[in-house]
Structures are given as C-alpha cells and as structure tokens.
C-alpha cells in the first residue's frame, strides 16, 4: 500500500518544507526590519558593504552591459530593417535596457559576484561561532551583519543598474551608429522622444526590490547554514539558485503590475 501514498508523501513534504522555509525567511526579514528601527546605525559597516557589493560587481556590470547593448542593437536592427523602421533602433534598445534587461541582468551579476560571497561569508561566520561570539558580547548580529547588507543591496543595485543601462546604451550606439550607419542624431533623438520618466522609474523600482530580495536570500541562507564546509557550499548554491529564480519570477509580477 505504501507506494500509493508515496507520491502524496513526497509532495506533502516538499510543500511543507517550502512553506516552512518561506515562513522562516519572512520572520528573518521582519526581524531585520524591526531592528532597523533602533539605533545604533552602523554607517561605516553600510559603506563597507556597499564597497563589497559595488566593487566586486562593477567591472562585470560594465562588461556585460556593453555586450548586452551591442547584441541588442545587432538583433533589433535586423528585425527593424524588415519593417523599414531602423530609425527607432535607439528607443527600442534603450527601453528594453531600462525597463527589463538592466535591472534583471545586473541583479543576476550581483547574485553571482556578491550574493554568493555574502552567503559564504556569513555562513563561515556561523560555523566558526563568530555570530555566537557577537551574540555573547550582547551585540545584535542583525545590526552588525544583516542590516548593513540589506541596506547596501538597496543602495547599490539601482546604481549598478544605472551603470549597466548607460554602458548598454552606448554599446548599442557603437553597433547602430558605428557599424550599421544610423545617424547619431537619430539614435539619441529617438531615445529622447520615446523614453519617459515612468520607464526609468520602473527600472529603479525593480532594481530596488531586487536589491532587497538578493541580499535577504543571501543573508538568510548564510545565517541558517548547515554544518561544516559542505553546509556552507550547499547554502551558497541554494542562495544563488533561489535568488536567481526569485528575481525572474518577481520580475514578471513587477512588470505586470507596473505596465498596467
């Protein structure tokens, strides 16, 4: 009879684990927000965290931004030519970068460069009892580790996104104007005419929320890591996979809300 119940048991346990995990993460987030309301505000730690996230990621952001813009221009150009609309290359590239590709790809880069490092760092602090040591000194680990990371994520993601988009637009310019021979005025003029403030706001809202999600998941996974090196490596992998998936799913919902 056991085999009849096995699938139910399997899905039941998965659902149970998922809900428990979600609940714990919610509590973790709520606790972080709670402690954020009280001083001390450790400015120095926040700045150091921004440095940690920003410096680790910015060169990668510039590189991926440039190539994303270039490949976008290339692809879009060949489609637009079919409609005889190559003049609108600028706004098409800029809009897709600003509203979609910028926030999402820069978030993915931050996950790879800084999110994983954040999980590993906090995880190692956990297994070597450094978090316990903070706690034993009557210092709140949320204040010292989690909150600075969360704030740094919220601050640096929009900035990295802005770098990505800017570099991407110029990458598109290089291909569109340099290779395909669109005039420079058409490229930027189109962007000026068609990109509105609300498009830029959409990108900013997205990267703000991605900043929270990435650092929240990375910190959470590190804070509740398993034992030993294996525990930390598992936590790091889970943090990367979970935050990437969450970003893409969340992006869909953000878009559907913001567009309508």
């Amino acid at each position: 009879m056991n085999w009849i119940f096995a699938p139910f048991k399997f899905f039941g346990s998965i659902t149970h684990r998922f809900i428990r995990e979600l609940g714990r993460m919610g509590c973790f987030f709520a606790e972080s927000l709670f402690w954020m309301a009280f001083p001390p505000y450790l400015m120095q730690r926040i700045v150091r965290r921004i440095h940690f996230i920003g410096v680790k990621t910015s060169s990668v952001i510039v590189l991926t931004g440039a190539f994303t813009g270039m490949v976008m221009a290339l692809q879009v150009y060949y489609v637009l030519v079919k409609f005889g609309a190559e003049a609108s290359l600028g706004p098409v590239v800029a809009l897709s970068l600003i509203r979609e590709l910028g926030p999402v790809i820069s978030a993915l880069m931050v996950i790879g460069c800084a999110g994983s490092a954040l999980t590993a760092e906090i995880g190692i602090m956990r297994i070597t009892e450094q978090i316990d040591a903070l706690d034993a000194m009557a210092l709140n680990p949320y204040k010292y580790l989690i909150i600075p990371s969360l704030l740094a994520g919220v601050i640096s993601l929009p900035l990295l996104n802005a770098i990505f988009v800017t570099v991407g637009v110029f990458g598109g310019y290089a291909v569109g104007v340099g290779l395909m021979g669109i005039s420079s005025g058409t490229y930027f003029g189109g962007i000026r005419d068609f990109v509105e403030a609300k498009d830029i706001l959409e990108g900013i809202y997205k990267s703000l929320s991605f900043g929270v999600l990435i650092t929240l998941i990375s910190c959470y996974k590190g804070y509740y890591t398993g034992y030993g090196a294996e525990g930390v490596s598992k936590a790091t992998t889970q943090a990367v996979v979970l935050s990437s998936v969450t970003i893409l799913v969340w992006d869909y919902f953000m878009t559907s809300i913001l567009v309508t």
């Binding site: 190692i124 070597t128 009892e129 450094q130 316990d132 040591a133 706690d135 034993a136 000194m137 009557a138």
Partner: protein
C-alpha cells in the same frame, strides 16, 4: 552566582544533557571535566544563552536567562564572557582589532585608551608584536590566547572558559592557567572552566564537577574528587583504559 536547574537538551532525538544540576557560588571557580563529545560545550552555550534548553533553566544571580528579554538580557550578557573552544575570532579583523572590537562597540573609551588597553592585554597573553596579523596567520595556540584576551579585556564578572589550554604547549598552558588565576584574583569573577588538564587544573579551582552520561556525576573540592572511590571518576581522572567507562 550561576545555577543550573534540571537542564535537558537533545539534538535530533539524541539526548546530550539529561538533567544537569550545578551551582557555582559568587567569586568561585569550577572545573568541568568529562569525556569528549559529552556536552560540555553545549552546557556552556546554554548557560550563556546562545542555545535554548529543551527543559530546565539557568539562573545567573537569580535571574532566569531564558526568560529575560531586551535591555535586561543585554545587561546580563554584558556581565558575562565566554572563551569559545575554537576561539571564534573575527577573521576579517586583525588581532588588534579583534581585542579592540568589544571596547569600541561597548565602551566610550578614546582611541588612544583603547590602544593602550589592547597592547597591555596582548602583552599579558604573551602576544606583543602579533597585533597586525590576521587570525588565519597565527597558530591555534595563539588564537586561543587572543580569544582569552578579547574576553578578559571587558572585565567580565562571570566567565566561561571552553578548554582554554587545550592544544597549547605545556609552558604556555601553565602561563595561561597562571593568567586565569591572577585575573580571577584581581577581578574576582565567577568562572566555569571546561578542561582536560587533569590534574593540573585541580590546583587552581575551588570546585570540580564531572559530567557523565548527561548528568553531573559528582561535584566537590579538588581533593574530594581526586580521592573519590567512585570507579567512573577514578578511571577518568587517571586515564585508565580498564573500568566502567567504555570508549565506543
């Protein structure tokens, strides 16, 4: 005063502590001995509030640490210090910064004052000259001493030492014992020292307790423990292979 009342703790249905009762009077030191992996470190973590027991309570100066919240808990923790078995040094900070950390975060000392205090503390544990090194660059024994310095720099009233001398060479081990005793005399803190240094520890503590099978098997003065007729304790402190304790 530290008082442990009827404490139980198990991990995944594996009982580790099964009804611990223990009491350390104000200003006294107690050596906690017992087999490896039998729950000594767990007991210390529960006492200082880092782990929650399944049952039972810990009273520090008659305050139940499991029931305290907020400011009161913070104040109590500030009076306590713990030296972790593995040191638990912050590996992103240098030796100097590690010892300065609690001073910077918890006191209003000036930078120059902090510097003097840290250097004095480092000299006391015999580590002058290592202040710019990172924990990864120093030996295990040095880490132990830095951890000790980081704990003692705050002048705690209650200190829990988790194997402060394990892994040190005999000379430094002796020096650390002497240091602990001197600090105890000058600060008059209450201490629990988890240790495997038998019989060296007997000459420097007021009482000895033996943890066996999740309970405190015996507690008494070092003299009483040393001359006990109990076959388990006798076997353990003399390190005999034949006897009631079996190594599985």
């Amino acid at each position: 005063m530290i008082e442990v009342v009827d404490l139980y703790k198990s991990f995944n249905d594996h009982p580790v502590l099964k009804g611990i009762n223990l009491r350390v009077d104000e200003g006294k030191t107690l050596a906690l001995i017992g087999g490896s992996g039998k729950g000594k470190s767990v007991l210390l973590k529960i006492i200082i509030g880092l782990m929650r027991p399944d049952r039972g309570k810990v009273l520090i100066d008659n305050q139940d640490i499991g029931r305290l919240r907020g400011k009161a808990l913070k104040r109590l923790k500030e009076r306590c210090g713990i030296v972790f078995q593995g040191g638990a040094l912050f590996d992103s900070l240098t030796v100097f910064e590690n010892i300065a950390f609690p001073l910077e975060e918890k006191t209003r000392m000036k930078a120059s004052q902090i510097r003097d205090t840290v250097m004095r503390e480092l000299a006391r544990v015999g580590l002058s000259g290592s202040e710019t090194k990172y924990p990864a660059e120093i030996s295990g024994g040095m880490k132990k001493r830095v951890a000790l310095a980081r704990c003692l720099v705050m002048n705690p009233e209650i200190v829990l030492f988790d194997e402060p001398t394990t892994g040190l060479d005999p000379l430094i081990g002796k020096a650390i014992h002497k240091l602990i005793r001197e600090c105890q005399k000058s600060l008059n803190f209450t201490a629990i020292i988890v240790t495997h240094e038998i019989p060296a520890i007997f000459s420097m503590v007021d009482r000895v307790a033996m943890l066996f099978d999740g309970k405190i098997l015996a507690e008494g003065t070092p003299g009483e423990i040393e001359t006990t007729k109990d076959p388990v304790i006798h076997q353990f402190i003399h390190g005999e292979l034949e006897g009631p304790i079996t190594i599985q």
